[in-house]
């Protein structure tokens, strides 16, 4: 499996990258880690004429708390996150997801930005972003823009990013007392894309009442999906087992899986129900400690 011919360009700055895409137009694609794009090119499902390598751009690999946010540079690799003290200490939801994403060698190269920008509902990070109501920061021909995650995913491999836009940063709410998150996916074997996955983020007040709730689903719809109905049910309430059961049922009803090699639609709905409940419980447990 060999990719078709293309011309490689290395960008050393975001501006240079954007200029390169402007020069080469629609036939140009950004490559960061390359672990989504290059396999597609080797299978010749994708045949871009120009590859703009953005992985060497300085300053886009960081994990830091700043104001009310955790800010993650788009070129931060999954491995950087896996072993980052801040993440290990306070952001278990990322640790949950990263351990289940591909394998350690792929994670050494694959970036958080790429995982999101690819716009693939089978990737794990989109569900986390939905759950945490992330803000996606991108730079394009018109300068920097902030895209709320709910406006980010447009369709199958389609996002709010214009061809010249580079995803530069991800912002999620800073961990605080009473907040917690969790992610799990069922996979056929380790490293597989999800049969179904669920990310949950909660924020409780001192009374244990749910102030914020986010539930994102992996690979059970064409576009990464938020469980609106479940969130609406839980927000402002003390989350009880009965409510959790109800949200599990909603998740199984609202997701849009299709039958494939990973299992039947009914099986996937059932899995979504189960994991949704488990992840709400786990997120609550984490929020309370």
């Amino acid at each position: 499996m060999i990719p078709a011919n293309f011309i490689y360009h290395k960008a050393t700055s975001v501006k240079e990258a954007i200029a390169l895409v402007q020069t080469h137009g629609e036939e140009a694609k950004y490559m960061s880690g390359g672990h989504s794009l290059l396999p597609m090119m080797k299978l010749r499902f994708a045949t871009p004429e120009h590859i703009i390598d953005i992985s060497k751009i300085d300053g886009l690999s960081y994990i830091k708390e700043d104001g009310d946010f955790l800010k993650i540079g788009a070129l931060t690799t999954q491995t950087d996150m896996e072993y980052n003290a801040l993440i290990l200490d306070k952001y278990a939801i990322f640790s949950d997801a990263i351990k289940l994403t591909a394998d350690p060698s792929v994670r050494n190269v694959g970036t958080i930005g790429g995982n999101i920008a690819h716009g693939d509902a089978a990737n794990d990070q989109p569900a986390l972003m939905l759950a945490m109501r992330a803000t996606i920061v991108a730079e394009g021909t018109d300068g920097e823009k902030e895209i709320p995650i709910d406006e980010f995913f447009h369709g199958f491999y389609m996002t709010a990013l214009e061809p010249a836009d580079i995803l530069t940063e991800i912002r999620v709410p800073k961990a605080k007392k009473g907040s917690g998150g969790a992610y799990h996916k069922v996979e056929r074997k380790v490293g597989d894309y999800a049969t179904a996955g669920v990310a949950v983020h909660v924020e409780l007040d001192d009374m244990g009442v749910c102030q914020e709730i986010g539930i994102g689903l992996t690979n059970v719809s064409a576009v990464p999906m938020r469980l609106d109905r479940g969130e609406a049910l839980l927000k402002g309430k003390k989350i009880t087992e009965d409510l959790i059961e109800e949200v599990g049922t909603m998740a199984s009803e609202d997701c849009e899986p299709t039958s494939d090699l990973r299992g039947s639609e009914a099986y996937k709905r059932s899995i979504v129900n189960t994991i949704t409940k488990r992840m709400i419980r786990l997120a609550l447990e984490r929020a309370q400690h």
Partner: protein, 785 residues
């Protein structure tokens, strides 16, 4: 237990010496086929069919040939000019090398692009324009025999339908009668799906024809280099490639498991290409080509097992439909089109059995080669072991007890099975008891009873299998007419060091170590002083190769007997050196001595030196021996495997908690290597039991033709295996050994399936076909609740 006769330094049988072959692999110096680089070498890439069944209306080479670096596009019509477009399969069916008018399965080779490097060759293959007229493929083998099914092989004279053959063994009438009158009969249709060996190295070759010497050299990932040489001579003899001009070198092989036995069409095309172009041509299969163009299993088995109400087994009947794809290229001995499937009566003592099989053509890839299993034994064992468990469930009897009560007893060996095998030896009772003890069977039974009260799903699965390996006696066993002996040739040099060559070919089994250990055992020469060489047809003695766990039973035996020939000659030389008569010479490992005067002795090294320097008058100089071993019988390794699983009702998730494998493979040459082989075989057992299966859609498209979706287990899916042994030597093998590498692949799937189905039994689930995935379990639970 086996007692070592040699010191660890000599390293004969029973010593876990470290492997001699490791160093090159550990340092990245292995020489696999893709590492071969010859001057001027070109690369070949195949264009493959996107359709399962289609007419080829035209092939346009122009755009491909216009790419700089593309030298040739070879089509079936090009080969037809030399009558090289068809070839025989190992079972005397016919297979296209390249098609002239019709493609018969998805990913079939359509034409070949030869270029200066692989990047250009791939571009060339993309640029070839093929105009197809797709036809409705036969995908379901049960529809292949319908009245209105299209005739898939009109090219075959006398072929009027899609049946390839009907085969049967045993007494149908009597078996039917016993079944009709039995207290209890359990029935099931059991399917063992198509799977692929997926060795981490794919297949490939480098073919190089020298026009001056007229010699053809082919580096080939083959488990059977000599047989391949003969096949090439048979296929291409008419264009001048006669056998003495053909040299096949099987370099280091990155896993075989049966997938590197067949002659794949691209090998023949590469040979044709080097013959026509006069430059070396390399072809390396990519992973998708590998996964989609070959298979193992694909047996649909209708089973009936009859017993008394107490559980005494009386009769077994199995009728099978086998999907062979568009040609029968099973790698089976010619008198055994279904391989050793008739071992299906298992480890149990009863009189009546009948097995029949109908093989059909479909629009799928040919194959039918093993997946680490000797000739269809996995299918046979799965059938009987599932049915025995089903019987146990039906009469509510402990499956261990049911087996113990029905086993062939130790004193019944040699045992004539109802379908015609003569089992050589075994102690099935002791083996199962050992497994039960090691895993703590009774404790798990209690735990299971407790868990069931709590509504939890826990299962215990047993498999007590009998394997049949070491093909085989020449009166019955041949491939394309060549008897299935194997060979060893030993040269002991004047300094007492040795070189030994074999007709087999290691693919990871550790031949360079175990064969040296056999010779160390027999001759007392340290194993480190013995070089082992295999795989080069110009130097190695003729043999049928390594598959079906046959190397130790055949070539291992040949090594022992060749060594014994040397020992006999050495005795004469020792008598000469010690100036006594031959009758007064005795042997102990490594030296000859005078009876009653052990201080008067000559070492094997002394004798070897004398064989070149001080030979007795009239004796032929040199210290070499060769033996071609024709086994008197097959060997029958066996084992008892027990698996404990827990199943989560809500999700169908399966957790393999424990797996104990007790193997009886007779005397053991290197315990470390045997244990390693068992570990590997077990992982290739859990693979089809829970993960692997080639999936087709209704059009005959393969749905999981990459390792993204063909789920080869990782270290996470593979349990921590627990192993052990009983030893019942083979009475007829010179070393008492039997062969082992495939037993675990045969025994593990039914043990796992039985465990999962046992876990689900409280829900009323009585059978599931493998692979038993969480999704499948979940569906079954829904259907039963």
């Amino acid at each position: 237990m086996f007692k070592c006769k040699t010191s660890p330094e000599v390293g004969g049988m029973g010593h876990s010496v470290k492997r001699k072959e490791d160093a090159r692999f550990l340092h990245g110096k292995g020489n696999y086929v893709d590492d071969v680089k010859l001057p001027g070498m070109l690369t070949m890439v195949m264009v493959r069919s996107p359709y399962a069944y289609a007419k080829i209306k035209s092939i346009n080479k122009e755009k491909a040939l216009a790419i700089p670096g593309v030298l040739a596009v070879i089509t079936g019509n090009d080969l037809a000019q030399y009558n090289l477009h068809w070839m025989p399969t190992l079972l005397s069916d016919t297979q296209m090398v390249l098609p002239t008018d019709t493609v018969m399965h998805q990913s079939q080779e359509v034409c070949a692009v030869i270029a200066t490097d692989r990047y250009i060759a791939v571009d060339g293959a993309e640029a070839v324009e093929v105009d197809y007229e797709p036809m409705q493929a036969i995908v379901d083998p049960f529809k292949a025999l319908d009245e209105d099914a299209p005739l898939l092989r009109p090219d075959k004279e006398g072929q009027e339908d899609n049946q390839i053959y009907h085969w049967e063994r045993g007494d149908r009438a009597k078996t039917d009668e016993v079944i009709a009158n039995a207290d209890v009969v359990v029935k099931e249709r059991i399917y063992l799906p198509r799977i692929h060996v997926a060795s981490i190295e794919t297949c490939g070759c480098v073919a190089s024809y020298d026009k001056d010497t007229q010699k053809l050299l082919v580096y080939l990932t083959t488990q059977a280099p000599h047989a391949i040489r003969t096949v090439v001579a048979l296929v291409a003899g008419h264009v001048g490639l006669s056998e003495e001009k053909i040299r096949i070198i099987s370099p280091d092989i990155g896993g075989g498991f049966g997938g590197k036995v067949p002659v794949y069409p691209a090998y023949v095309v590469a040979i044709a290409a080097t013959f026509l172009i006069g430059k070396p041509v390399k072809w390396i299969e990519d992973r998708s080509e590998n996964l989609v163009n070959g298979f193992a299993r694909d047996y649909h088995m209708d089973c009936e097992l009859a017993a008394t109400k107490e559980g005494k087994i009386q009769a077994f009947k199995v009728s099978t439909l086998a999907d062979h794809g568009y040609t029968d290229s099973s790698a089976n001995p010619s008198k055994y089109p279904t391989g050793m499937f008739s071992i299906c009566t298992g480890s149990y003592d009863y009189e009546h059995a009948f097995a029949e099989l109908d093989a059909v053509y479909t629009n799928k890839a040919p194959g039918g080669v093993a997946y680490r299993c000797s000739f269809r034994v996995t299918e046979a064992v799965h059938a009987i072991e599932r049915m025995v468990d089903k019987l146990a469930a039906e009469i509510d009897k402990d499956p261990a007890l049911l087996r113990l009560e029905n086993f062939i007893k130790k004193e019944q060996f040699p045992y004539d099975s109802p379908l015609g095998w003569s089992y050589d030896s075994g102690d099935y009772e002791a083996t199962l008891h050992k497994a039960m003890e090691m895993i703590g069977y009774e404790d798990y039974k209690k735990e299971q009873a407790e868990k069931r009260k709590e509504g939890k799903l826990m299962g215990i699965g047993i498999c007590t299998f009998t394997e049949v390996v070491g093909a085989g006696p020449s009166k019955d066993f041949d491939i394309l007419g060549i008897a299935m002996f194997d060979s060893a040739e030993i040269r002991v040099h004047p300094t007492g060091k040795a070189l030994a060559r074999f007709g087999t070919k290691s693919q990871g089994q550790g031949h360079e170590t175990t064969y040296a250990q056999i010779l160390a055992e027999e001759l007392g020469i340290p194993y480190t002083d013995i070089e082992i060489d295999e795989g080069d047809t110009d130097t190695a003695p003729y043999g049928l190769g390594t598959y079906a766990s046959r190397s130790t039973p055949t070539a291992g035996a040949a090594a022992a007997i060749a060594a014994r020939k040397l020992k006999d000659k050495g005795k004469k030389i020792a008598a000469h050196l010690l100036e006594v008569s031959e009758e007064d010479i005795e042997w102990e490992v490594g030296k000859y001595f005078v009876k009653g005067a052990p201080e008067k002795s000559k070492t094997i090294q002394d004798v070897a030196f004398a064989a070149y320097t001080n030979i007795p008058p009239g004796m032929e100089p040199g210290f070499e021996a060769t033996h071609y071993y024709d086994p008197p019988n097959l060997t029958f390794p066996n084992g008892a495997y027990i698996c404990v699983v827990e199943v989560e009702k809500e999700t169908g998730a399966i957790d393999v908690k424990r797996f104990v494998a007790i193997d009886d493979c007779g005397n053991i040459i290197n315990p470390m290597i045997v244990e390693g082989q068992v570990h590997g075989g077990l992982t290739q057992g859990i693979a089809p039991a829970m993960y692997e299966g080639i999936e087709y859609d209704d059009e005959g498209n393969v749905l999981n033709g990459t390792l993204m979706d063909y789920l080869v287990p990782t270290a996470v899916e593979s349990p921590h295996w627990e192993t052990g042994h009983t030893i019942t030597p083979s009475p007829h093998h010179p070393l008492g050994a039997k062969g082992v590498a495939e037993s675990p692949t045969v025994g593990a799937p039914p043990a796992i399936a039985n465990a999962i189905i046992d876990a689900l039994a409280p829900l009323g689930i009585k059978h599931l076909d493998i692979p038993i995935t969480p999704a499948k379990v979940w569906e079954a639970i829904q259907a039963h609740s």
